[in-house]
């Protein structure tokens, strides 16, 4: 699984790193940074939860 955050769309709601601190983290402004674009199996549920709870729909996950 791969995950990425559309920086232009992210507005710093902070839902993703609240759900999955191992996948996403906050910059100083509270906007999301992906820690590792390649998601390991144990973090897949967290990455998905981050995407599904982003009010901006700024997060994309792709299964591969």
């Amino acid at each position: 699984m791969k995950v990425w955050v559309d920086e232009a769309a992210c507005q710093g709601h902070g839902r993703c790193y609240a759900f999955a601190p191992d996948v996403f983290e906050a910059d100083d402004q509270g906007h999301s940074i992906v820690l590792k674009a390649e998601v390991t199996p144990e973090h897949e549920a967290g990455a998905r939860a981050g995407a599904e709870n982003c009010p901006e729909r700024a997060i994309t996950v792709t299964e591969d």
């Binding site: 507005q11 710093g12 709601h13 902070g14 790193y17 609240a18 906050a26 100083d28 402004q29 509270g30 906007h31 939860a49 599904e52 709870n53 982003c54 009010p55 901006e56 729909r57």
Partner: protein, 404 residues
Amino acid sequence: MDDNLESDPAMMLFSPEAADRPHVPYRYLLEKCPVARSDGGSVSGEPGGSVLISGFEDLHWAFKHPEYISSEEAVAIGNDRPLIPLQIDPPGHAKYRRLLDPQFSPKKMAALEPDFRVLVNQVIDTFIERGECDFHEDFATPIPSTFFLRLTGLPLTDLPVFLQWRDNIIRPDVAPGDFDAAAAIRADTGKQIYAYFESAFDEREAQRDDGLLSRLLDAEVEGMRLTREELLDICYLLIIAGLDTVTATLDCMIHRLATHPHERQRLVDDPSLSHAVVEELLRFETPVMVVARTVKQDVTLRDVELRAGDMVTMVIGAGNLDDVEFAHSDTVDFDRGRNRHLAFGAGPHRCLGSHLARLEVRVALEEWHRRIPNYRVADGADFHFSAGIRQANTLPLVFGDATS
């Protein structure tokens, strides 16, 4: 609902009883007119026409397109100049958010949690022995406003003044429909607010403290510091936003949990559920029912023509019940995996204080339920929620077994 009200969606939404049972007008709007033109007044209470946007997708689009649906001219609450950052649209707005967002970031807020938890317990101590309280007056009002004053570094003795200003601005005490009197109260209060913060900044220019106001004095973006006017325009918005919305949110959530013991019991049994409880009740209760915008460029939404200058009422509470986005939207479900509610808005004007609000509401619910797991609304209690921002006028609770 009577036929009269049904004829105009805005009248229905802003009627005195709507805030007690907002799902009734929300459903009507979603089913009959997700984008509606109305002559029944707007969120500010002013008469005249507005366009109501209620569907989730349309709200989402509108929040993200300030070049069409703008917040620049949307509210007049006694302020002389645009409120910062709310009434500055992109691109000018980014510089203010770069400066303000770090002051309200999740990391910054998390550092405040221990101190806030102590405050919540001190407030509970003031009434727990009585076995009853007026939740709105004794808990929901002092908690966010006391914490706001601590955060800004202003003296707690000024709290009554702040609460009076809040009421003057948001719910001016005038006869229904007397918009001139309301505007006069707001203008007079505005002058007092500006004067208060002028002198607060003067004091901190001379001697910095460790509060937010001093940090704003020293904050820089692109090598520029904020001007005195910019500082005042930020503070004006902060006191309105910081004093009122969390109080309303606590009123709405405790009322829900007081009247739905099985939901409350889940939180009591598993305090780690608090995050999910907060998010789901933000969605279901949507304490800030609506926010105001104006149309900046003509645009057609669902066959309704919006013209530049039109007032827009963004009915967030309806969007949060839209089946297009939320499965079983009418049900409170703490296990909802996906929850993209719009309670804090979206797009560039996403609520600046959302991380502070989430912290305050979550910790307040955790400590309340740890110490007062059983409570109910007092028999015969007569209370109502206010339209717009759903605050209870009073919320008498009795502690102890719900069945006793």
